[in-house]
């Protein structure tokens, strides 16, 4: 997903347009831009280059009178970002903008930016052993009827979240939790902006999640935000979310996925993971 867009005038490197759709943590882009902009100005028209920092990628290119910088997630496919940036650059460079922008120009660039943002959806992937409630969470987020009978997911399931988060269309994935599907989880996890580790909050499941799942997701989710949901908090002997957080070493949220009252809480968790 593309988090922020900057447009600069090429001749004096003045910022004429900026849109922030999601934060980039504690990264100070003003400092980074001092390094990137002179490089971008010297580049040939239409060439795209990238700098990578932490879980973000800063992609930039120039065409005509303008330089465009897009800050995106490293989990995005580089070629896809290049395609989106090239098209956006072409749209921007085909016009001449005032500095500062007129209201009409500002509106026009906002529409262009929204359009390019929509080309790369956000991806959230739920992982966890069988029966912990991954599919139920997916149904909860999609405002669908909660399944009463357990039906194991084969390979994986995919669904588009009914409501967008900010400007982003969100695609939800769950992995098949049975042991035989574990060797192919990486295929489903790769490219995720957020990986949600789901546990049923029993001591045994939490322990197995820590020892088996956490090491397994490290590589395919290395550029993703990872958090945990401690499901089935309504059951007796369930461990509280803060205890599970300590065991897993990642931010953990308590939940009862069969209870629709938890929908907005889980939505907020995902929203915060995607946008913060």
């Amino acid at each position: 997903m593309i988090r922020q867009i900057y447009i600069y005038k090429k001749d004096d490197l003045r910022l004429i347009f900026h849109r922030k759709y999601a934060n980039i943590g504690r990264i100070n882009f003003d400092e980074i831009s001092q390094l990137i902009l002179p490089v971008a100005r010297a580049m040939d028209d239409g060439v795209i280059d990238h700098s990578e920092i932490f879980r973000y990628r800063i992609s930039y290119g120039t065409l005509g009178d303008y330089i465009v910088v897009m800050i995106n997630n490293r989990s995005c496919d580089r070629e896809e970002v290049e395609g989106a940036l090239t098209e956006y650059l072409r749209d921007v460079a085909s016009q001449r903008f005032n500095s500062p922008l007129s209201v009409e120009e500002e509106r026009h660039l906002s529409i262009l930016s929204r359009r390019v943002i929509a080309t790369i959806p956000a991806k959230v992937c739920f992982v966890g052993f069988g029966g912990v409630g991954k599919t139920t969470l997916l149904r909860l987020l999609r405002h669908e009827r909660i399944p009463l009978r357990y039906e194991p997911t084969m390979f994986g399931e995919r669904a588009i979240m009914t409501l967008p988060i900010g400007p982003y269309r969100v695609i939800l994935f769950t992995v098949g939790g049975q042991e035989r599907f574990m060797p192919i989880w990486d295929i489903l996890i790769r490219g995720s902006d957020v990986v949600v580790v789901v546990t049923d909050s029993t001591p045994d499941n939490v322990e197995r999640t820590k020892s088996q799942i956490m090491p397994m997701i490290r590589d395919p989710a290395r550029y993703s935000v990872i958090l945990a949901i401690a499901n089935k908090q309504d059951l007796p002997k369930s461990l509280p979310a803060d205890v599970i957080e300590q065991t897993l070493g990642i931010k953990t949220y308590g939940c009862v996925a069969i209870d629709p009252a938890y929908r907005s809480k889980i939505m907020d968790v995902i929203k915060s993971a995607l946008l913060s």
């Binding site: 496919d77 084969m154 390979f155 995919r158 695609i171 994935f173 035989r180 192919i184 295929i187 490219g191």
Partner: protein, 351 residues
């Protein structure tokens, strides 16, 4: 009849993405595309593989090009169809699509590819084997195996890469039709770096004089003139293969073969092909010296002939190349056994 064909790619962010479908009106459930992909990547070490699955009332045969290509081509069949009938053709169609994936060139040929899928189960063995001669890579593999008798898949893949300037070769898709048509057998041999391919039946495509006795005297002299200068080469093999494999051309040719001298009217009545197309076919047959047309009459000049035969020459070659039987390794011993089995099988088929 197949319901349709789909080309699906894996995208890390979106999951399965439907790249192409035929017919264009085909409706495909996104969950189905995920199920097929899941079946491909589960338990096959992510290499190229062929699967046949059943989902609700659909039967599916699908070929996955391996994790680098990360795409599959699937044929959707009704419950009454046997997916096994489409095994070779799905591999062939998928390889052609994967070869043209960049730039999407294959999209222009979807209709023709689907036509081939529909026709394939109804083709004769003769036609299926003749199709091999249209594919330079398969011709090359057959030639290499004729020279050596047996080769590991690593050796074959190395030779193909060198000859065709390729970085990777999907050996499964190259060998699959040869194996299905009983020309080649693959086996694991102790100590070999990869599976070993053995040539157990050979094939040749030839042009022969018309086998009907109804050829008039003056046409016979044209036939003699044609064969006195006849020199087969690879282009000729492709012409002969096309005559055998193009369904409409094959039907016209079969009609002429059967009747000898025949009028265009009679052919039209028998094969039920629109006039324009029939004239195109007759024109092609005449240009390639299969027929001679005089006014409304068509005379046969030559016919394609496909021979499938036991590679007896391999036995002599084994002795020449590898010395006496006592010094043979496991691969050569296996080859001898496989040749014996193939010979017995061919004798049984003849009876």
């Amino acid at each position: 009849m197949p319901i349709g064909m789909i080309v699906v790619k894996w995208d890390n962010r979106r999951g399965t993405v439907l790249e192409a479908r035929f017919p264009p009106s085909l409706r495909v459930d996104p969950d189905l595309t995920m199920k097929i992909y899941g079946s491909h990547v589960l338990g096959e070490a992510r290499e190229a593989n062929l699967i046949s699955i059943r989902v609700d009332d659909l039967r599916i045969i699908s070929y996955f090009g391996g994790i680098e290509i990360n795409r599959y081509v699937a044929i959707l069949l009704s419950e009454a169809e046997d997916p096994e009938d489409y095994e070779e053709v799905v591999v062939e169609v998928a390889s052609r699509i994967f070869d043209q994936i960049e730039g999407g060139e294959y999209l222009e040929h979807l209709e023709d590819l689907f036509k081939l899928i529909e026709q394939y189960p109804h083709m004769s063995i003769e036609q299926k084997v003749a199709r091999l001669f249209l594919d330079p890579m398969k011709v090359f593999v057959l030639q290499k195996l004729r020279e050596k008798g047996l080769m590991t898949l690593d050796q074959l893949s190395g030779e193909i890469k060198h000859a065709f300037g390729l970085r990777t070769v999907d050996m499964r898709s190259v060998l699959s039709p040869l194996v299905k048509l009983d020309l080649v057998v693959t086996r694991w041999i102790e100590g070999a770096s990869s599976e070993v391919a053995f040539l157990v039946r050979d094939c040749e495509i030839l042009r022969v004089p018309p086998r009907t006795k109804k050829v008039p005297r003056d046409i016979r002299s044209s036939v003699i003139a044609l064969f006195s200068k006849y020199k087969p080469d690879s282009r000729e093999a492709m012409v002969l293969a096309r005559a055998l494999t193009d369904p409409d051309t094959y039907r016209v040719l079969s009609c002429i073969r059967k009747k000898g001298v025949v009028s265009i009217e009679e052919i039209r009545d028998e094969v039920d092909i629109p006039s324009g197309e029939l004239f195109d076919i007759l024109g092609w047959l005449e240009r390639n010296r299969f027929i001679e047309m005089r006014g409304e009459e068509v005379f046969p000049l030559s016919e394609p002939l496909l021979l499938i035969f036991f590679p007896e020459y391999q036995l002599r070659k084994m002795i020449e190349l590898y010395g006496n039987v006592e010094s043979w390794d496991e691969g050569l011993r296996q080859y001898l056994m496989l040749l014996k089995e193939s010979y017995m099988e061919m004798m049984r088929e003849k009876r």
